[in-house]
Symmetry: C2
Subunit: 239 residues, 2 copies
Amino acid sequence: MNLPLHERIRTDIEGRILSGALVPGDKLPTEHEFMAEYGCARMTVNKALSALATAGLVDRRKKAGSFVARPRLHSMVLDIPDLMQQVLSRGQTYRFTLLERGIGRSAASKIDGGFDLGAGKAVTLHGLHYADDHPLALEHRQISLDSVPGAEHALFDSEPPGTWLLQHIPWTEAETRIAACAADTRTASLLQLEAGAPLLRIERQTWRGADRITVVRQLFGADAYDLSARFKAQETAGR
Amino acid sequence: MNLPLHERIRTDIEGRILSGALVPGDKLPTEHEFMAEYGCARMTVNKALSALATAGLVDRRKKAGSFVARPRLHSMVLDIPDLMQQVLSRGQTYRFTLLERGIGRSAASKIDGGFDLGAGKAVTLHGLHYADDHPLALEHRQISLDSVPGAEHALFDSEPPGTWLLQHIPWTEAETRIAACAADTRTASLLQLEAGAPLLRIERQTWRGADRITVVRQLFGADAYDLSARFKAQETAGR
DNA sequence: CAGTGGTCTAGACCACTGA
DNA sequence: CAGTGGTCTAGACCACTGA
């Protein structure tokens, strides 16, 4: 427990805020006052306060000073591990089966839900994820061949398309939508459920810079999956 | 567009990584080499590289140097706006109706799903969120009276419990689970759906430090709600 | 105008860890 | 052992913005 000084200053101030000794809106001492309090250079105080500002715990305004920020509660970190990894880490066997595969204009077999690969050519894939030989999720995916030419001849037999993509094309941005829906008869039979059974639907589009990489929709049986997210309040409130 | 120097160095290096000019595993120049390249002090280079390390784009190892990090893809930022705010921002009217309210040991009417307020006393609330007088979500919530004594006499008529809590007890940590389920007959009738209709189920527990604040389960009709998350790849990969 | 934070410098000492 | 990043100092100049 021999933290650097700027970390100790940071956690010290953080403690005053989280304990409620300082409440949102309260003014913090100035950097010069902290310098005197901790007997250190201003850069060291600045590093601690800047980190707290980046973390969203503190608002800093020139001339006015630094203030305890009002909590922002509009985002949380959602853990979405790779499906194959997650199944394996539970000690189950994992398998992916490709049901269907086609190549064409991406608009032709568009995945509904508002996501869109644009006008170029794309590979369209339908497949099933299995955990311990029980169907876990039905996947419908398009991969842009403009952005990922290598997808044209990839087999997707040993690893599922999502895992393959991660290793070939790191993405820089993704958008995810999560909803519930009822299974149609075809989906129900593939997932070994009854028609109308509730499904968790996850749709995601990913980009690399301005290039659209892939659009995917995954359907999970209600008992098969849940998402879990753990969030420490201000750590991602930076923007 | 007159960024400070450390920001320009940062975005410059970031550009080399995102464009693919530098790939994961590549060694970056040392701080001294960057000093020469940009003609600045080492602290300025250090600030840029430290920010990239915090963002997860770069791994830094003493003696060895700085390297382009392998992408980590296991978390994304999920926007979960306040329900009342979201309804109002769509231009709809919002209303919350309390159906039931009780006080007792929190264990007695525990919300299933693994979340738990512990042994203390708690207020239990059942209520309905309405958008434009149409039921949007059924909420079942417990609030710890040890952590939030003021909840005992709060009315929850003008604002829903979640909004009330945000303004009284800022939380520091939350865990969320998301799943699909089928509506039982009582839930279906309250949400004006048919029994067995698919629902999106969101369960959340929040803490303030070590204190458990609240456990909530919200059930949304499949058409009524979806979650959306947008994620820029490495920005939250800090941990 | 004057106080505040934002940035930058040119050094310094050190811990760590790979060669 | 030697190179690297981690930290810290004691200054400096400046832009911003509230009084």
